[in-house]
Amino acid sequence: MTTAAYTDLLHLAAGLQLLCAVGAVWRRQLGPSVRLLSAQGTALAAIPFVSGLYRHEGHLVGVALAVLVLRGGMLPWLVSRLVPTIVRPAADWTDSGRYAGSDLDLDLDVPGSGSAMRPEPHAHDDPEETREPTPLVSTTVSLLLTAALTALAYAVSRPLVTLDPSPATHAAPAALAVILIGLLVLTTRRRAVSQVIGFLTLDNGIAALAFLLTSGVPLVVELGASLDLLLAVLVVAALTGRMRVKFGGTDLGELQELHE
């Protein structure tokens, strides 16, 4: 692979990741957001893959494959299971929209258990559960904030780039921007699922920054970080189930009641 192709591909991957993050801010529908997350994970996996091919380092390709499986496939799939599907009107929801079903194993609905293949039990005819309700900050303002954060990321990471100018470090500000955008999504979204999306965006940004600024993350470190992430998503999945049972929805604003 030539250096020019390597640079182009690396920048394309980083840019694609940033684009997916911006898309996550723009789209309020939860389904497309999850698909964007999957694309973002794939773009992230491309970074170590391209570096591994360019520098002829086999373990980077291995890391890339692990990242692809986990962040491009597994985590978005887990998140998509948290999004209720509109197709099936379910009998176990009362008129008031409160869940009155009897199968309490819902909140322990861990993938890999027997229930993994059956249709989603928490299907919902209220479209509000499948998309972000009126956001705390309107979409326009969010997009403007995204632009500002991206500019900020480029501004603050200039010393990092000048420290060791290389194609990889030149792409680092994009990764930093993804981190800041992830934080923005975390801060401004109401649904628990959107929070997970924001959190995963943030972590994708951190991973991308690590790939770009260092000469490659050891497989053990990447596996450790990813397993933490998997655990966090599983915990949020259980929490979302509990919230549906207790509050009838996954609006995090409801949790304010728990304040002493």
Partner: protein, 669 residues
């Protein structure tokens, strides 16, 4: 045995003791717990004696404390403190075997007991800043767990909060002080610090001095940082109170002695003056509160504060006289501090053990409700009597030798020193005399009102003597008191090795603690043994004379006791602790500021006849109410403002995090 072996044995015994208590079956729990603490104490005594004899190699364990490693070294000064702590531990261990059998202490506090003891043994061993702070904090935490042994009661929880807050504020002061010291010296080992202390700037040295004295002073209970001591020590179970009051407070003194006197010192004259002033205020304030206290354990805790004040007076005098160039008298003052420290440990552990025995037998701590314990609990009464004699600083008590030495050093410093010494010393003599006088009153009250006369409550009437283990524990402590009172010469070998390590005692003739106490360079000598012999001879003579006279008296007749025509005498006519202290309370009204409530109710038909008089007097710690209340109120107000940021919204919390990251990014750029 060598240093590493002893350290390993101490660590292994501690771990084994803790595990044994956790694993012991319920029936064997008291004996196992007592044995565990006792064995740890015994190892401490052996280690301490070995340290005093000298020649123990320093121990360094690199992997134990992250980054810095554990560094232990024992000199004679550490050895003395370890022997005292270990001896208290042995006595408390034996006592605990009986005390825990009453079910007063749960498994958790009993399992922490050996750890607490080992931490107190470890603090004097520490040879680097990190090790010292690590063991110091471990000791504070384990003592907190022990204070909270009866956490079901509200007072205990309050005491726990005070203890935790004050201990940690003190820890922060020590931490900052030692870190500044280590940073300025560029090393963290005590030998390196000692070598480079002289080259530090005077401002740095003074800052370190003030911070560390404040931190160690809060542990030793110096006014105004004493507030936790009279709350936490009484609320802890009996054996724990004894350990805290007789061993843990000593380590506050050890900190001052190690860091401020040995490592930093010799300093300017105002250091000694500051320590002396703090000690003098503490001594008078502590003894005054003890004199008016009605809670037996609170009284003893205030007396602890008082005695730590006296020790600080002695240390301050030694520092002042060293700086003024009167080393011979400074050595006497330093000896006074060490002798009084050992004596205090003996009589205060005995006092708290006896108070714990009374509390276990009656469930009470209020002196007003005691009385009549002497015939019901003779062993405990005798034990408390010996402790009270020691605490009052009279001849034959084990507090006497230390106070005598202190007064000698104060009196003999006069002709040699300059104006400052000439001004301060007579004042200090007055303070020590006042303290001793009030201390005697407090102890007479505690013993006379608490143990003699008739019982004033049903609980006191039903009291019965404690079991054998508790009696043996108290007996050992009483024996130590007696030996220290009559033959302070037992301390001579240890002191002759400790004094040359301290700036005040190096290179001067030391006071000789023989059968006759001699102070070289100072005209003064005294023999506690001869004094005791004289008193014993006098008592025997008087007893013999009365016996001889009794033979010529007519036979006694039994008759009703004359009660001024007022009918039979009742227990309500006795002096109570409150009424005994009332004159003192009146004299020191301005300092104590009691809340007095007097309500007189008249008959409605006859307004000149009084139906009922209600008198209520409540004493609060003045320093606490006037100094701490505003601080606590300000902290609470600040916390209320800070709570506004905690509105419970996850989005707000996430926004704080995001804003923090962005600010950090902008600043780091």
């Amino acid at each position: 045995m060598s240093g590493p072996v002893l350290a390993a044995v101490l660590a292994a015994v501690t771990v084994l003791a803790c595990l044994a208590v956790l694993a012991a079956p319920s029936r064997a729990l008291p004996s196992v717990a007592g044995a565990g603490a006792g064995v740890v104490g015994a190892v401490g005594v052996v280690y301490g004696v070995a340290a005093i004899s000298g020649g123990l190699a320093p121990v360094s364990v690199g992997w134990l404390v992250p980054l810095a490693g554990l560094r232990l070294a024992a000199d004679a000064t550490s050895g003395l403190f370890m022997v005292v702590t270990g001896a208290v531990g042995v006595v408390v261990g034996i006592y605990t075997a009986g005390y825990a059998a009453h079910g007063h202490m749960g498994r958790t506090p009993l399992s922490v007991l050996p750890l607490f003891l080992a931490c107190m043994l470890g603090v004097p061993l520490a040879d680097s800043v990190t090790t010292f702070l690590f063991l110091w904090e471990l000791m504070a935490l384990s003592s907190l767990l022990l204070v909270l042994a009866e956490a079901r009661r509200r007072e205990v929880r309050d005491a726990g909060v005070w203890c935790a807050a004050m201990t940690h504020l003190g820890f922060v002061a020590v931490l900052v002080g030692l870190v500044v010291f280590a940073a300025a010296a560029g090393a963290e080992g005590f030998p390196e610090l000692s070598a480079s202390a002289a080259s530090l700037s005077p401002a740095t040295r003074s800052a370190v001095f003030l911070l560390t004295v404040a931190g160690f002073g809060s542990k030793a209970g110096l006014v105004p940082l004493h507030a936790w001591l009279p709350r936490a020590h009484p609320e802890a179970p009996g054996p724990v109170s004894a350990l805290m009051s007789a061993a843990m407070v000593n380590l506050g003194i050890y900190g001052i002695l190690r860091v401020d006197v040995t490592l930093l010192g010799p300093g300017p004259r105002w250091w000694g003056l500051a320590l002396l002033a703090a000690g003098a205020v503490t001594a008078v304030y502590g003894v005054l509160q003890a004199a008016v206290a009605t809670d037996l354990k609170r009284l003893l805790a205030y007396s602890t504060s008082e005695n730590m004040g006296l020790i600080c007076v002695a240390l301050g005098t030694a520092m002042l006289l060293t700086a003024s160039g009167i080393p011979a008298v400074a050595a006497v003052a330093m000896t006074a501090a060490l002798v009084h420290l050992v004596g205090h440990a003996a009589f205060k552990s005995l006092g708290f053990l006896a108070a714990g025995a009374v509390a276990a037998a009656t469930g009470l701590r209020d002196l007003d409700a005691f009385g009549g314990l002497a015939p019901r609990m003779p062993t405990t009464t005798a034990a408390f009597g010996i402790a009270a004699l020691g605490a009052s600083g009279l001849p034959l008590g084990c507090g006497f030798v230390g106070e005598w030495l202190l007064l000698q050093s104060l009196v003999h410093a006069l002709p040699a020193g300059g104006t400052m010494v000439a001004l301060v010393m007579p004042l200090t003599v007055g303070v020590v005399a006042l303290t001793t006088g009030l201390g005697t009153a407090a102890m007479v009250k505690a013993f006379g009102v608490g143990f003699l006369a008739r019982p004033r409550s049903a609980e006191a009437e039903r009291a019965s003597e404690v079991g054998r283990a508790m009696a043996v524990g108290m007996g050992l402590a009483a024996l130590a008191c007696g030996v220290l009172a009559v033959a302070p010469a037992v301390l001579a070998p240890a002191l002759s090795r400790v004094l040359p390590e301290l700036p005040a005692g190096a290179g001067t003739p030391q006071p000789r603690l023989g059968a006759l106490l001699r102070l070289p360079g100072v005209g003064g000598s005294m023999s506690p043994a001869l004094l005791a012999l004289g008193v014993a001879a006098g008592v025997l003579l008087a007893f013999g004379a009365t016996q001889w006279r009794a033979r010529r008296r007519p036979a006694p007749r039994t008759a009703e006791l004359w009660a001024c025509g007022g009918g039979a005498l009742t227990a309500r006519m006795q002096y109570t602790a409150t009424s005994f202290a009332e004159p003192l309370q009146r004299v020191f009204d301005g300092v104590l500021r009691p809340d007095v409530e007097l309500a007189v109710t008249h008959y409605s038909q006859a307004p000149y006849l009084v139906a009922k008089v209600t008198y209520r007097s409540r004493l609060r710690d003045t320093v606490e109410t006037s100094l701490y209340t505003p601080v606590i109120r300000a902290v609470a107000a600040a916390a209320r403002i800070a709570r506004r940021a905690h509105m419970g919204s996850i989005h707000a919390y996430l926004a704080y995090g995001a804003a923090g990251l962005i600010v950090a990014l902008l600043v780091a750029r």
